[in-house]
Amino acid sequence: MKINILAFGIAKDILDGQTKEIELSHGNDVKSLKQTLCDTFPEFSKLRSLSIAVNEEYRNDDYELKESDEVVIIPPVSGG
């Protein structure tokens, strides 16, 4: 399955752009997306944390993605 992802902060720098189409190669859940990201862009493995938000909520590794979802890469936050 192909999904479109949105990236912020350092994730945008790693992907060299705010949006990216990702081909999920391991499965369709959040864990597979993270694995694909780390395989394709090794810089993601070096971050302090890597979270995925789907439709504006943080999701666990076993959350199943759909093509219509708004999927966002959330690198370590630093507001405040």
């Binding site: 912020f8 902060g9 350092i10 302090r48 938000a53 504006e56 690198p75 936050v77 630093s78 405040g80």
Partner: protein, 138 residues
Amino acid sequence: MINIELKDEPLSVEECNDLAVSPTAGGTVVFVGTVRDQTKGKKVTHLEFEAYKPMAISEMRKIAEQAAEKWQAAHVVIHHRVGKLDITDIAVIIAVATPHRKAAFEACEYCIDTLKETVPIWKKEFFEDGAVWVAAHP
């Protein structure tokens, strides 16, 4: 009452306090986060905040609702800035009014601590010789 804002204009402490103050509350605690002139001894020239806006607002609202419930707060106000900020500019204001003051201190500290953990906002610090996304790496 809960009031959440994310904006690219200067924040006002007076406005946040006025929104929070309540005739039923004896104390309002306001946290004002400002831009420091250095990080680990290295001189900071300015900052940029980027946010995933709809989710940043909904996560700030969750925090405010949790605080309001746990500490019986009359009002919780959270305003966060985005865009370019200079030294001493205000990045965030959190104002919490409760009937008794101890709860206001606890609730306000809970809000800023949690905001820094969960709200999708990212800070880029600019130095004279480059820039880094804060806290991105271990």
